[in-house]
Symmetry: C2
Subunit: 90 residues, 2 copies
């Protein structure tokens, strides 16, 4: 489960999420969107780039493999919406 280990690090899923649907963000825009300090963002981006999930090319964007990841995340995101509304009801 090496991939889950990587994605379980602080901010990793959030970064991928912010780059969904072909979005291209600068380092600073990504920092603001993902609410991460630059040190953590930089560490995480290095890991995600080494894992071929994120590509740096005139800003940061998802690699093809990263796009596959987003697709695989949709059910989880839908679950988390259900979870949020269920938790809100209490």
């Amino acid at each position: 489960m090496a991939a889950l280990d990587l994605l379980g690090r602080r901010g990793a899923l959030r970064i991928v999420w912010e780059l969904r649907e072909g979005r291209v963000l600068t380092f600073r825009a990504l920092q603001a969107a993902a609410e991460l300090p630059p040190g953590t963002l930089n560490t995480r981006l290095a890991e995600l780039r080494a894992a071929d999930i994120v590509a740096a090319d005139a800003g940061y964007r998802l690699s093809p493999r990263g796009s596959d990841l987003i697709a695989a995340l949709w059910p989880l995101l839908r679950w988390s919406e259900d979870w949020a509304s269920a938790m809100g009801d209490r």
Copy 2:
């Protein structure tokens, strides 16, 4: 994305994974399976129980909502297998 924040904490996804398919594990068995020290496991279990993902009932098991989560995780797990074999090829 409060749910993703919770699931992004160290060991959280791993704990859910170890409880897949109706498995019921003791605290110590879960500790060994998820490879977590007791302090971290305890913190994480408290969070997962508060989130109604894990239930403590003669051992630890997934709640119904936790089972939904596992179902939503399958595409991600399949992606991570693909990722692992692709990464191994380099």
